[in-house]
Symmetry: C2
């Protein structure tokens, strides 16, 4: 339990209470762990495997939003807002998921200073990311808009210390998100690859030169 960052600073007493209320469930690869529109009756923790948050658009296309790794929690927004799930979560490998009932989770959020602190930081970062995304939409130069979008994408570090976008949406999805054409996205990514700034590899994008990307995004 102490390996889950959100819970790592709980008191022994709190850990015992949380342990007693956790429920565990295995899901096979491709299973839907959370359904968009469902009720927010638990906070979820990914204990092993990998999950993908996906949204289904009006016209039925599934857009991958972000990946979750072991130790991550999810499903907190519907819980806090007492609203329905705003996206679906799908297993991309076999996974083990822990469920903490809403009432216990909500009590922790406001009564455990360490959890409150981490949860506020988590939400404030999401908001900052969304506000950067909104600002991005006002960039008139299409190519710079694409570069800025790539620079803002969630990045992880691989074994070699390189920054990697693990879950690159399709060129069409990127085009839809930031209001341009698929062809323009393809062309911009090609230019970045030719300049040695990124390297594409199936659904991953390796950012070889983050500073160079930043310079291009800022119009340099």
């Amino acid at each position: 339990m102490r390996k889950i960052p959100l819970l790592s600073d709980l008191s022994d007493e709190e850990i015992i209470k949380v342990k007693g209320e956790m429920r565990y469930r295995h899901f096979p690869k491709r299973a839907v762990v959370l359904h968009k529109g469902g009720t927010g009756d638990a906070l979820l923790f990914l204990l092993s495997g990998q999950l993908q948050v996906i949204d289904v658009t009006e016209d039925g296309r599934a857009v991958g939003l972000r990946m979750l790794a072991a130790g991550d929690f999810f499903g907190e927004i519907a819980l806090i807002n007492a609203s329905t799930r705003s996206a679906s979560v799908v297993a991309t490998t076999e996974v083990l998921v822990a469920f903490l009932p809403a009432s216990t989770a909500l009590h922790l959020f406001s009564h455990s200073p360490s959890v409150a602190h981490k949860m506020l930081g988590h939400l404030a970062q999401k908001i900052q990311r969304d506000s950067e995304f909104r600002a991005l939409l006002s960039i008139n130069n299409t190519t710079r808009r694409i570069y800025t979008y790539i620079a803002l994408m969630q990045q992880t570090e691989d074994k070699d210390g390189r920054r990697v976008v693990e879950n690159l949406p399709t060129h069409q999805d990127i085009a839809n998100m930031i209001n341009t054409s698929r062809e323009t996205v393809t062309r911009a990514l090609l230019v970045l690859a030719q300049q040695g700034i990124v390297q594409k590899d199936a659904h991953r994008l390796i950012i070889l030169d983050p500073d160079g990307l930043q310079r291009l995004a800022q119009g340099g």
Copy 2:
């Protein structure tokens, strides 16, 4: 102090501590209370008057994001993320603003259950709004995209119980935000007015028939 919703459930002891650390300042109409890019060294409360949160785009246009009323707090994101201010805040009337130093505010956020609870609810609602906005961008039908955007705008209730968008952006700003032309926005608003769904009045938009708007947004 008890009239500020965020602080209304503090203990007497907490109220005394907070009171002792608050600093107050008057600003004239049109003064800039927070500067985009400045440091997040305080949580701010609007005690009287009205403020507008504005963002300045790449090409120097000021876009009004939302209005703040007496009792509202602001500037919490930069504080929690230890980042710079992501937008500016400008006085639209003469205002009285209270400043609570960052360290005291951050301590309250995680150690006062009532503040933690309210702050989490506040942030989670912002996130839900941003995610609805993102989903809106994937609506292919332009007119429905405009209707959905209007339905999602921050609304207050006027004396007669009508829902009012107090701070309607210009048609050009709306067009920029949701990827369409100014002419299309003007036309869509005209159709809504002709159908008796909205009524325009300087910078306010009165939503006379919220259900009708919702139906049109959903393509009915």
